[in-house]
């Protein structure tokens, strides 16, 4: 079945098909002169394909097409999937061409499928096979790897028979969408392996010439909220940041990276949503650029600190501003050469490619395939079928398979993973005072998939569980066994257990993976010989941070939650403090308690209850018109409260319900205060800073005593007079357990909920 589509030229004045010459790969025929045919993915046009991390958007009627010759006058031949009746109603989410250009792997959803699965098309025969992906989960963004493997993203969840037999997949930073994580499978459908998980999405992978996989990761830890480029080895180990976290990226999200030359990636820069997953095209240089044999490379001194970008489409918005007529937005780009100004195969749509305006007009963005000259910034139309997206065009030709980058797994480590640093003081992110770090605290992250009510408190932090503190040895080294596949957050802590510095991202590792770094985010452009065997930490052996403890047991025993004496004089028992539940599982109920509330109940409420006997002046929140939104006084009781943020002149909506002590300590959402132009007057203080116990007023007030290596009541964290001089209800100083509960509560995000007070655990 062959038919010729009529390619159309939009904006003829700008896009008239001209001679395709320039910095191409072939002198006689321009950049596509040595290309016999293009493969193009055609999907029905749509406006509601979600934000840049959305991966399911089913509309029947997609095809893979072959365009030969690769010009506007070429012949279009559908190559998938009308040839097999069982594939009727197919939508194709993404595809990749094998190294020998004989097969195509694609993510497809037929009319009878419940989800997107992996399919393999053999070009010579036209036969389509299924790759044995879980029919009840989505498998998207497949790419070929060396060694007859395929890497994909999936909302299927990696499990472990011992530690995680039936986990739920993480949901994203908004606690809404199920995240996509990485996995691999052999091209015969055997050997599926699912990789370690981020706490949010990982999407849009592609293969670099050094054998690593580059992909977009949604980074979210408290206020951190962006889509950055990351690398991993092809066995899903050795995660490494590439672009966006440290330096100034072009936009909130960097997508669809594809290698131009070693160290250079062409990518889409755009806002997270409302842009139909399209934006400007940028040329990302991951290191210092240099020319070699006519190729502009950037694989010298590759590190985020050295990464830069060049905007190849400077008129295109990199945010969600509607694009202008004739400027439009780009959906994807594929480089055809490695010059400074490469020729690109692109998908482009004209007009305001922004969902609201398109919806209001009852239109869809119509992406067509173009050749884009980045030097002259001219587009030459190749194909656009009205009502369809013609995207992801690439030459139907062989390519060189990169070397395999696997073999990072050490079977002797078993089902857990090993992490650590050669010298934790070696850091580009923070300058530590020599000798100031006692250890490195590891905390597990989780989202509302465990049954939490869409939020853990008012501070935007995900759920945390403390896995322990690994001692830093005198040479600065540390090692720990952690649960594999689990997002982990690290903090360097002092002898009081307070964070000195947060690593502002989640990281994870596979079973048997050894992730030992040179330092604490050391200079990535400098070669570091990683040999943990030569460190003191190796000599002492790795700390056990619950590496083989089942998820269900990474929680405090119920009897321990309100125990004020878990930490013994010799320092043992500290591993019993895991999740810092603030109060009861239902904050609207009176008389409930939790790990944190216990401290207040036993020591504080006689003076700092609802009656504010201590007489601490309160504060008032008013709106822009001067209406009082809230009057609040210091209150450490467990009383349920409902804060009415509405104007005082009407009944207003109740917006926030937690206990009085939580509201007192964590305060109202300051971002909300700022965004709504609310004003706070009076004695306003946030007493507990998320992830920053050391600078929290509460912690400074109680002035904790030394915790590590053993509790020492004679040594205080601060020079100020401890609050115990005024006296506590208990008639004693806070115990080491109580100090550490408050510190953990702050350093783990000042959340209300933890596994210990998960409402899902109750019967209803």
């Amino acid at each position: 079945m062959t038919k010729t589509f009529k390619s159309i030229a939009i904006g003829a004045a700008l896009f008239t098909m001209g001679p395709l010459t320039g910095c191409g790969t072939d002198d006689s025929g321009g950049p596509l002169g040595n290309v016999d045919a293009l493969i193009i993915l055609q999907r029905p046009a749509r406006n509601d394909d979600g934000n840049v991390f959305s991966y399911t958007s089913y509309i029947a009627g997609a095809h893979l097409l072959k365009l030969s010759p690769p010009t506007a006058a070429g012949t279009v031949t559908p190559i998938c999937c009308d040839q097999q009746p069982e594939l009727a109603g197919m939508d194709i989410q993404s595809y990749d061409l094998s190294f020998d250009a004989t097969q195509i792997v694609f993510s497809g959803h037929s009319a009878t499928d419940s989800n997107y699965g992996l399919y393999l098309l053999t070009l010579a025969t036209g036969e389509v096979q299924s790759l044995n992906s879980d029919p009840g989960r989505d498998y998207v963004y497949p790419i070929f790897l060396p060694g007859n493997k395929i890497l994909f993203e999936t909302n299927n969840v990696v499990s472990n028979a011992v530690t995680d037999p039936m986990p739920a997949q993480h949901v994203d930073e908004y606690e809404r969408a199920t995240t996509a994580q990485v996995g691999t499978i052999n091209i015969d459908g055997t050997g599926e392996e699912l990789g370690p998980r981020n706490l949010s999405h990982r999407v849009q992978p592609s293969l670099a010439s050094d054998g690593r996989v580059i992909f977009t990761q949604w980074d979210h830890l408290g206020p951190e909220n962006q889509g950055d480029l990351m690398f991993m080895a092809d066995d899903m180990t050795t995660l490494r940041e590439a672009f966006g976290k440290e330096g100034d990226s072009a936009s909130n999200s960097t997508l669809k990276a594809r290698e131009i030359s070693p160290g250079r990636m062409v990518a889409i820069a755009t806002a997270r949503d409302r842009t139909v997953q399209s934006g400007a095209i940028i040329d990302v240089r991951l290191g210092l650029p240099y020319e070699q044999d006519g190729v502009l490379r950037a694989d010298n001194m590759m590190s985020e600190a050295n990464a830069t970008f060049v905007n190849l489409t400077p008129d295109v918005p990199v945010d969600m501003t509607p694009s202008s007529d004739t400027v439009g937005r780009y959906y994807d780009a594929f480089p055809l050469d490695q010059s400074e100004h490469p020729q690109l195969l692109v998908s482009w749509a004209d007009g305001p490619v922004e969902t609201e305006e398109l919806a209001a007009a009852g239109l869809n963005a119509e992406f067509g395939t173009y050749l884009y000259d980045t030097n002259t910034q001219e587009r030459h139309p190749i194909m656009q079928d009205p009502g369809m997206w013609d995207i992801m065009a690439r030459p139907l030709q062989t390519r060189v398979a990169p070397p395999a980058t696997a073999a990072e797994i050490d079977s002797s480590i078993g089902e857990e993973a090993l992490i650590g640093s050669m010298n934790v003081y070696d850091s580009t992110l923070h300058q530590f005072t020599p000798g100031s770090i006692y250890g490195v605290r590891m905390m597990e992250g989780f989202s509302s998939e465990e049954g939490f009510p869409e939020m853990f408190g008012t501070t935007e932090f995900e759920g945390h569980a403390a896995l322990g503190v690994a001692k830093v040895q005198s040479d600065g080294s540390w090692l720990a066994h952690i649960p594999a596949n689990v997002p982990i957050h690290l903090q360097a802590v002092d002898v009081f257990g307070m964070s000195l510095f947060n690593e502002p991202v989640w990281t994870s590792a596979r079973p048997g993976e050894s992730r030992v770094c040179g330092g604490c985010h050391e200079n990535r452009a400098i070669t570091t010989v990683i040999d943990p065997g030569i460190t003191q930490a190796a000599a002492f052996g790795p700390f056990d941070a619950m590496g083989e403890v089942p998820r269900a047991n990474r929680i405090m025993a119920p009897a321990d939650v309100t125990n004020a004496n878990l930490i013994a004089a010799d320092g043992t028992g500290i591993n019993k403090l895991v999740g810092m539940s603030w109060g009861g599982s239902d904050p609207t109920q009176t008389g409930t308690t939790g790990a944190v509330q216990q401290v207040f109940n036993d020591n504080c409420v006689s003076c700092h209850g609802a009656d504010n006997k201590a007489g601490i002046p309160g504060y008032t929140i008013t709106d822009a018109k001067g209406n009082v939104v809230l009057n609040w006084t210091f209150n450490l009781s467990a009383d349920p409260i409902t804060v009415n943020y509405g104007p005082a002149t009407d009944d207003g909506p109740a917006m926030q319900t937690f206990s009085a002590s939580y509201f007192t300590m964590a305060g109202p959402d300051m971002e909300a205060i700022e965004m709504n132009n609310l004003m706070i007057t009076g004695n306003f203080k946030v007493y507990m800073n998320p992830e920053d116990a050391a600078n929290s007023i509460l912690i400074q007030k109680v002035n904790p005593t030394q915790l590590f290596p053993v509790p020492n009541a004679a040594v205080r964290a601060f020079t100020t007079t401890p609050h115990s001089s005024v006296g506590y209800d208990s008639g004693r100083e806070l115990t080491p357990t109580e100090f550490y509960k408050l510190i953990l509560a702050a350093d783990m995000g000042a959340n209300y909920y933890a596994r210990e007070n998960n409402p899902h655990a109750s019967s209803y």
Partner: protein
């Protein structure tokens, strides 16, 4: 040109959208504009962007979205209220009343709200509502199943059991899939009879869920499906399930299926055979 003029007109009408990062910069006006466009993605984006915004003016707008005909819109609106527990609880009371006294559309909307906001305390009422069975529309029953699935609480199992016995195949299918993801679910015994359901979609779903739980008790039933079912998707999913279960008892059936007329079934059967070895 006509298309372009229409777009330009709309652009002028709406004004330029604000520059905003993820999760920042939302406002009631932005939600209002998104609603006016009727664009699903735009509505979802603007509601998400007000995640932490204290915005009284947003409340009636988002409340209105709780009755939208599109599930995705109702879901994001409920999510917005879940971020505001005090207000969520007020609305939960209204939604529970709607479960008891509302029409089917009201029940659908209420179930979606209570499910998305994980109002576990409403589970008894959701169970009671589901027991009304065919007195409710398919949409309402689907929403009740969806709510139980979203909560993923074993307290929702009676809803899912009723869903699996429903007269409508889409409800049965949804209930089967939801059963899989209930946290702490003990087994898939209730799913087993659906391997012989009259609708291929349900059989395919049942095979998937049974495979995910590696329920070896029904290998024989799955063998029958992989060899004899008339539907390709059912045969494929049964082949996948047999591979997950890994019982060598299925060798003969999978060997036969590896020569299935459909390359889709044959390829999965071959991969599953490999898993048995």
């Amino acid at each position: 040109m006509k298309t372009m003029k229409k777009l330009i007109a709309v652009a002028l009408m709406l004004g330029a959208a604000s520059v905003a990062d993820a999760g920042k910069g939302g406002s009631a006006a932005s939600i209002q504009a998104a609603i006016a466009s009727n664009g699903q993605d735009a509505i979802l984006a603007e509601v998400e962007r007000t995640e932490t915004l204290e915005c009284s003016a947003c409340v009636p707008l988002v409340t209105q979205l709780l009755t939208d005909n599109r599930y995705a819109v109702r879901e994001v609106a409920a999510w917005w209220f879940a971020k505001r527990p005090g207000l969520q609880q007020r609305l939960a009371v209204q939604m529970e009343a709607a479960l008891q006294g509302g029409d089917s559309v009201g029940i659908r909307n209420a179930a979606d709200f209570l499910g998305t906001t994980k109002e576990y305390k409403a589970l008894p009422l959701l169970r009671a509502t589901m027991s009304r069975g065919s007195a409710l529309t398919v949409d309402a029953r689907l929403a009740l199943v969806r709510a139980a699935g979203y909560m993923a609480h074993t307290g929702g199992n009676p809803i899912l059991l009723a869903g699996m016995a429903d007269s409508d195949a889409s409800v049965r299918t949804a209930a089967v899939f939801a059963w899989r993801d209930v946290l702490g679910q003990a087994n898939v015994t209730p799913v087993e009879p659906l391997l012989t359901d009259g609708t291929p979609q349900v059989r395919a779903a049942a095979a998937t869920v049974i495979g995910a739980y590696r329920d070896a008790r029904v290998v024989g039933s799955l063998e029958q499906l992989v060899m004899n079912d008339g539907d390709v998707t059912v045969r494929r999913n049964a082949a996948w399930a047999l591979g997950k279960i890994g019982s060598t008892q299925a060798t003969e059936a999978l060997t036969a299926a590896s020569h299935d007329a459909s390359p889709i079934v044959a390829s999965v059967a071959r991969a599953s055979l490999h898993a048995l070895h």
